[in-house]
Symmetry: D2
Subunit: 122 residues, 4 copies
């Protein structure tokens, strides 16, 4: 017997949209050569690029200068490749009446993407 | 006055995870040189790569040979670059008791990523 | 019988370096969501990112606003994905006494990466 | 006074082509989620994808299982992201009478892309 599955809710669709933005941001820009001199322009370009995507209200990217310098010092060049360990990201999505905020930050030594809040807008 | 926001539900977190997989898949592999000869190996590699990600149960990628040939014929070479217009994707995620299925397919001439079903597992 | 192959020359190594920069630039950033509002920040970030790479003297990226608008008009959204058809790129490399300039521009309707000049510096 | 610069030679153009393939390969696939189970399919897909590019004769990619397992053990998941430290790559290009072989391998602890040989074909 098959029982009908209800359609996904607006909140669930908004969370799906937030996830798309995170995956897009990460896999589009991971691997980009980055140094202290280029970090600010890369932050701004990532924000503006992902904000183009549907339902995306705001994106904030902060490359951690100290983590960046440590990664450079551990390598053999004067730049490194962008990874999740080097940046904090906050993405705000609005979809069909629901606001979603999601963040990526270091937790227990690893970068973790997490849903922070899901709110019906009034 | 600030009212407390309830924590995101398991279903919402599962939808966020499904979105991450879609954004990752798309922006990791879009732009890959592809031809009829390399399409099958690329499908398999994309599936196996994304299935590595947390909460990802199954990924199915089908590159449309007819759309691929049309894109090649419209260009100046014997290959083209992978885009959403050339493939159908189905991703199944399981997170904390919830199964989510999401798909990307052409709709009205454009590739669209959509949540198909969100079900509590019994 | 095996005859010895001479080592690659400085000029050949410099041309190899120039090619690496072009391939890196293209496949790192192709697929990035782009609109007239985000085009300038993306140009600057691409230039600064690739200039980090070894032997890279200068990078110039110009996203063609008219081509960008045409691509957006042809699609179903208010942005598009960056491709070689939307930008002109010029890269200057210096390696072990040789200056190399390479460019990517539209030729006969297709984006073409070409070596422009290879000069021993005096 | 401007003195004429001679056009780049066939060998120089072939070296430029070889560099494009290396940069493309690296920045298209760096960041891909990879595990021992998915390494073989990823190797094959990278080879077939880059062999589509003009002038590319053969591509060989070997993901080092021991380096892969070490990277996974050092992280918090059962997969890691592909980087140059995890793979050896050999690319053969033929352009206008010249064969070029280039390789990427670890040297002094860092991945290095190098021109191995440039030969006029007879």
């Amino acid at each position: 017997m098959t029982t009908a599955t209800p359609d996904p809710s607006s909140a669930e669709r908004a969370c799906f949209e937030a996830g798309i933005k995170f995956g897009s941001l990460y896999h589009q820009f991971a691997g980009t050569p980055v140094s202290p001199d280029s970090a600010r322009s890369l932050e701004r370009a990532i924000e503006a690029a992902i904000e183009n995507q549907p339902a995306c209200v705001a994106v904030s990217v902060e490359i951690d200068d100290q983590a960046l310098q440590s990664a450079i010092d551990a390598g053999g060049a004067d730049y490194t490749e962008l990874t999740g360990r080097l940046m904090d990201v906050r993405i705000e999505v609005y979809h069909d009446g629901t606001n979603v905020v999601a963040e990526m930050a270091m937790e227990d030594g690893y970068p973790l993407m997490q849903l922070e809040s899901v709110e019906e807008s009034s």
